[in-house]
């Protein structure tokens, strides 16, 4: 079992999420913040500006002309996507290490996170094509707790997998029984420490038990299904394999059926192939 104070210490020892990311995440949800305010926030960070422009000019977006400034970028890709670029640029450094405890080689957790972000966004777009940015963000960050638990999981992996096999429980449930915390709970602690918006915290905490969501049930359902699709495609799957529970209520929560999910998975596959360049660029 991991004592709570040790987990909190581990949370505090991680480098903080840059201020600008937290500000942008909150600003993007604030109707009183203008596009100009957003540009002001980003343009004073040259390294970030360069990274965002490289992402904008990648073939994934296939924009008709080269984008040279954050202002132009906002016109073409919109606020939500810009915020996601910034977040992706900052998070990729957290995700780049191998998570040996989970059997994930270098970059695999990043691939899984981007895959889940793309899938969650696709699922959200079926509901409302204009409001998909937050689903992407939540997908990108849903497994952040794995960074915290990796070393502990590595020490107990045989016990965890034996529990999964013998009792047919999910990997996260087995983590909780063996370590005292699942990676979703650890991620939730980290998200609070980083002062992320509440819907994102809920998506991290409940993406594996979407029925428990209160504040943002649709968002949580979208990330749950995005994660299930990603795992089903084997994207960034480690020693935890496919040991995650599918909750059919998540489909009902967003008015979908299994056949809709299969049909959408074709779009997710296309989006993911297009995003391979994006995955490399954000690294």
């Amino acid at each position: 079992m991991i004592p709570l104070d040790r987990l909190i210490k581990k949370v505090e020892d991680l480098p903080p999420l840059p201020d600008i990311v937290v500000k942008l995440l909150h600003a993007s949800r604030d109707p009183n913040v203008s596009t100009r305010d957003m540009v002001e926030l980003i343009k004073h960070d040259p390294a970030l500006t360069i990274k965002v422009l490289r992402l904008c000019n990648s073939s994934y977006y296939g924009l008709p002309r080269k984008i040279n400034s954050i202002q132009e970028a906002l016109v073409y890709i919109g606020t939500d996507t810009l915020v996601n670029f910034v977040l992706a640029g900052c998070l990729s450094s957290f995700y780049q290490q191998a998570q040996d405890g989970y059997g994930l080689s270098k970059g695999e957790l990043w691939r899984h996170s981007v895959g889940c972000a793309i899938a969650s966004q696709r699922i959200a777009s079926r509901d409302n094509p204009d409001v998909t940015g937050q689903a992407f963000t939540a997908g990108l960050i849903h497994d952040i707790g794995k960074i915290l638990l990796d070393a502990y999981v590595g020490q107990e992996i045989e016990t965890i997998l034996r529990l999964v096999e013998e009792e047919s429980i999910s990997f996260a449930e087995a983590e909780k029984r063996v370590l005292g915390f699942s990676h979703t709970e650890a991620g939730c602690e980290l998200a609070r420490h980083w002062n992320l918006p509440e819907p994102l915290i809920e998506a991290i905490a409940y993406h594996q038990m979407p029925d428990a969501a209160k504040l943002a049930p649709k968002l949580v359902a979208q990330v749950h299904l995005g994660n299930i699709l990603c795992i089903s495609f084997g994207i960034g799957v480690g020693s935890d394999g496919l040991a995650y529970t599918f909750h059919p209520h998540a489909l009902a929560a967003i008015g979908m059926e299994v056949s809709d999910l299969f049909r959408l998975s074709l779009d997710v596959h296309d989006d993911y192939k297009k995003a391979e360049e994006l995955i490399g660029l954000a690294a």
Partner: protein, 193 residues
Amino acid sequence: MSNKLILPNGTSQLVQPREERAAPSMSSAEGTQSSFVVVDLADMKATNHPTGCLVTQSLGSCVAVAIFDPEARIGGLLNYILPDSHICRERAMTNPFLFADTGIPLLFRRAYKLGALKERIVTKVAGAGNVLDPKENLRLGQQNYEALSRIMESNHVELKGKFVGGFKGMALKMYLETGRVVVELGDGQEVEI
């Protein structure tokens, strides 16, 4: 429940975990890193060049179908993601390797075109894992495998080796010099089928 591992016809053999295995000799075509060709999701490769190795990445619920004609030394590997093209005919036209019912016939046809003969072809499969699904609503891996079984049965093709189902991540490797097929599990163990 549906997540129990279906072991291959009693023909599998657990071999050493990958990190304990001796590095392959560079003089052998089997297993040199530079000769690994990845067959992506919803893709297929067939070749009559008997060197190197066709590999998939982690399969999840997807299915890898490996075929090999040992006499002509022609090999092919398909990695499909969904059982049935009926859900989107248009997609099947642009990429038949997305689906079992359009991808599998094309895999065999490509091998025949290269000179393989149906009676000599050895067919092995892996993947079709399932997420935990107590009410059996999703069953994607299971549906993917059932689609394959139906096609194989109606075409009188026998599966010589399989490692399907369960919750473990796995990837498949087929060595083109010998037709040897190895399944690499998420925990690093390798199983020859």
